[in-house]
Symmetry: C2
Subunit: 189 residues, 2 copies
Amino acid sequence: MNLKAERGAATRDKVLTIATRLFAERGYDDTSIETVLQESGLSRGALYHHYAGKEALFEAVLEATEAAIGAELVRAVRGSRDAEEALLTGVLAWVRLARDPVIKRIVLTDAPAVLGWERWRAMEERYSFGMLKAALDATGAVPAEFLDLHAHMLLAAVNESVLMVARGGDQATAEAAVREFVHRLLRPR
Amino acid sequence: MNLKAERGAATRDKVLTIATRLFAERGYDDTSIETVLQESGLSRGALYHHYAGKEALFEAVLEATEAAIGAELVRAVRGSRDAEEALLTGVLAWVRLARDPVIKRIVLTDAPAVLGWERWRAMEERYSFGMLKAALDATGAVPAEFLDLHAHMLLAAVNESVLMVARGGDQATAEAAVREFVHRLLRPR
DNA sequence: CCGTTTTACAAACCGACTGTCGGTCTACGA
DNA sequence: TCGTAGACCGACAGTCGGTTTGTAAAACGG
């Protein structure tokens, strides 16, 4: 069970790469399975053998993307002195990372609508959001009862700033604004 | 030109009402024009005479919903003493309003993906977001360079709290968290 | 080493859906 | 009264997601 497994994995990888590009370029709705098949040179049967359907394919793409983001963020915050620095560093790293159109379109725009907000949120929890919540908790600046909510609100706010930049906003200003935003949130009463 | 115009307007209204319900219940993708036709008793030709297509129908639904929200928010903030009170009142009113599944699904979840983030944002600008930005400006707590960004970030954060409540969170806690969140943001350095 | 099972892939096919198009009917203005 | 334009109809075409049946070969078990 080696040659076949490798072939299968290679095929999944190829499809995943192509699908990621197409979903990012055209969005979920305007990306047809047909196109994925054409560009990958695969047959319908092959694709449906590896992925249960279009939605499952999208979910796999999202998972891979989130994993990559998570790894990148871990690298970014490594070596931070305290919790507050880690939080700010991570958030700013995320703002810079998310300039990638793949992330903007797939993770921030399409995912909630395609998978439903629930499943999207569960996925985020395992990656970027999980880190942010832990970092926010470690600062001790937020009362426990609001921790989960404020972590979500902060991430949503940061995500929004990413989309603002994508829409033509200035990156430097956005980073400064995020810095200020986080700073205000962390100040005790 | 009265009977005809009225009939047309009545038809558009009927379709809009039915489409709003269906979009809210099943989401954009899982709502077929076919179903809208069945439930409204209309023919394809009639529907396509009034609306250019499925997306245009969705946009009309969104527009009507946003307009209703805007009107409701105006009512809510009327009589506020100062800018800060108006901002907080408006935000909390929005949190309560948005419990409506129609708003959650159509405005917050599907709209950005269906219309694209740009067009969705342009629409929000004309309604809820415009109000929030003006209120935030009036408080004078946010430097001009960050006003637009912080207004967006705040709205995104509040929207997120709405979705948290929808997911099973506690309404009272969410309102308290939003209150605290806004309060922290408004404090000067 | 041989028969069986499992895996990767292929291709025809199906049902559902969106959008188009020619056409009908009727209110309304000239 | 007659021509026009708007409201509405229904058949049809094209696309798309998903299913089913079939095939070749790799892995497995005795």
